[in-house]
Subunit: 343 residues, 2 copies
């Protein structure tokens, strides 16, 4: 079946193309009955109003791409929805591009810029350590959103939105210390991590030190490389091993809520309880941290505000209202039922 | 900064373009030191090997798009990963396109086909009720993946992969009946739903009838339209209302695991327990159903196999090995700790 055109519709209706166009575009200058008749014919013939086709095309030359690492991470779900809403509101089209763990996001971005004539880019999640010469190849404004980086980025060439992963992590571990916990295990990223994992780990170390607690190497546990990082199954596997090792500890600080949930499950499966036997805390503030039983004490990142700020900054730069900006949001310590006070 | 080309690299190295190309492409026919020197220069100048650029371009004319409704639904996360892996393995590029709740997926698909010269499409999730004339405008093979439809689709024009949502739902409710439950509430989709919601609801009704249990209208609860459908918050709100209504029931059958988790939370917040006071079951077999406390009894859909079959069928049709195919997978009743036997 050939696609039907606006000319065919005009012919069937016995009117001119411009009249059909007026009907489609809700133009006031058209007879009501004529419009109704035209819309009927359009419906009967499943004609796709050029409208939407035109929109899509028009939008396509004004595209923003969101490059995401870790598409299955529920932390990003709400952000993606807000990105989409905000970008479409500005009459730009929204391209969601998944970047594989092994892919270089800058290479993907450079290709996308060429292909889609992008006006801007959001990098969401993942590590981010690229030489400045490489970043300079990105000829459009871009924002790093919720990407922790230990690298000294040239703050004039890109914008960023995040929480202070070090400070928030410090806040969480300091909270555990304030309740009398001194034997606090952590489930964290590999030591060569240069991203949020490293920053959150440093917050843990710093909080312990400032509370006069000695660092115990045996309580520092690294996510397993062969399992998805930051996942429930990873938290489960690491905690199972920790429990079986017989180490003495009273609390687990998992650097993500998903890891924390896996840790809880491992504790339950060993016949112990949370928080009566072990306290467990997470990071991120996922919905499931609230819905879990017990609810998980966590650091809530204000994802909605962060997503909105990401797009606002991107458009400020695109429209040359402002140069690169860097916004750090406050996380919120959300007290659940997964921590027992030892005082 | 201008992008550096392969010619520039060749010039700097004092070799021919073909030598640089051999170095990049790991061609055996090149002196080791020359290769090392070239790779050094490439690194220094942050030259993006044409390789990846070429790959991307070549792939782009062989693209498969996955159109997804409900990107934040964790049920789809694992499927997306497998789609991507399988599509890339076949040297096709993978385009993930989010379709808004209010958008018409066929319109989006038609535009994508034109723009990207798609070779095939996967529709993932959502309702699917389009007149055949409209479907015929899709000029490339497509597969409906995990899309329940009550509509009589012309089985020759498209392929499908799913579980039998009616049968699996029947299986779950029949299981509750077998344990002595007769007052089984359900949290389901609006009655005008023409998709999995409707099929799963019919399975519930049919199982009750076949067990000689009278249908109680007051125990049939509909997801709230103002909240995300199939979400934890929706399950929570509906269950809270159900509990406050004072209706007498012993079990809740939620038509998704996320709803079931929200239901559990509402029960906990009312001071009751799962399964001691109320049994709760879900549908889908999400990871979190296993990690939840208590683990949720559910119907596990074999998402990995279904995702693989989706791509296999799509390529069979693209390569004209086969015409449209329809595969129905068996779900698995996974017994968790969220159900109490009343016998």
């Amino acid at each position: 079946m050939e696609s039907i055109t606006i000319k065919d519709i005009a012919k069937i209706c016995g009117v001119g193309v411009s009249t059909v166009s007026r009907a489609i575009n809700n133009h006031p200058d058209i007879n009501k009955e004529t419009k109704a008749m035209i819309m009927d014919v359009i419906k009967q013939h499943n004609y796709i109003p050029n409208n939407s086709a035109r929109n899509l095309k028009r939008l396509d030359s004004n595209a923003i791409a969101v490059l995401i690492k870790g598409i299955s991470n529920p932390f990003f779900s709400n952000m993606i929805k807000i990105f989409e809403r905000e970008i479409k509101e500005k009459k730009y089209s929204f391209i969601l591009q998944h970047v594989d763990d092994k892919e270089d996001e800058i290479d993907v971005a450079i290709e996308l810029i060429k292909e889609k004539k992008l006006k801007g880019i959001v990098f969401l999640g993942g590590h981010f350590s690229h030489p400045i010469e490489k970043l300079e190849q990105l000829k459009v404004p871009f924002v790093l959103s919720t990407i922790g980086t230990t690298q000294k980025l040239d703050k004039t060439i890109c914008s960023s939105v995040s929480v202070d992963d070090f400070e928030e992590s410090y806040k969480m571990v300091n909270y555990l210390c304030s309740l009398g916990h001194t034997k606090i295990a952590t489930i964290t990223a590999p030591m060569d991590d240069e991203s949020i994992g490293n920053l959150r780990y440093n917050g843990y170390i710093s909080a312990l030190k400032n509370n006069g607690i000695e660092i115990q190497e045996n309580l520092i546990r690294i996510m397993k490389a062969e399992l998805y990082s930051y996942s429930m199954e990873n938290g489960y596997a690491v905690t199972k091993e920790l429990l079986e090792s017989g180490e003495d500890f009273t609390a687990i600080y998992a650097i993500s809520d998903s890891i924390a949930i896996g840790a809880c499950k491992a504790i339950f499966d060993s016949g112990k309880r949370v928080p009566e036997d072990y306290s467990v805390v997470g990071f991120d503030g996922l919905d499931i941290a609230h819905y879990y039983n017990p609810s998980i004490t966590t650091i809530r990142q204000p994802v909605e505000e962060m997503a909105e700020a990401t797009i606002k900054i991107l458009f400020d730069v695109i429209r040359k209202k402002k140069s690169a900006q860097h916004r750090t949001f406050q996380g919120e310590l959300v007290i659940g039922n997964s921590v027992k006070s030892l005082k």
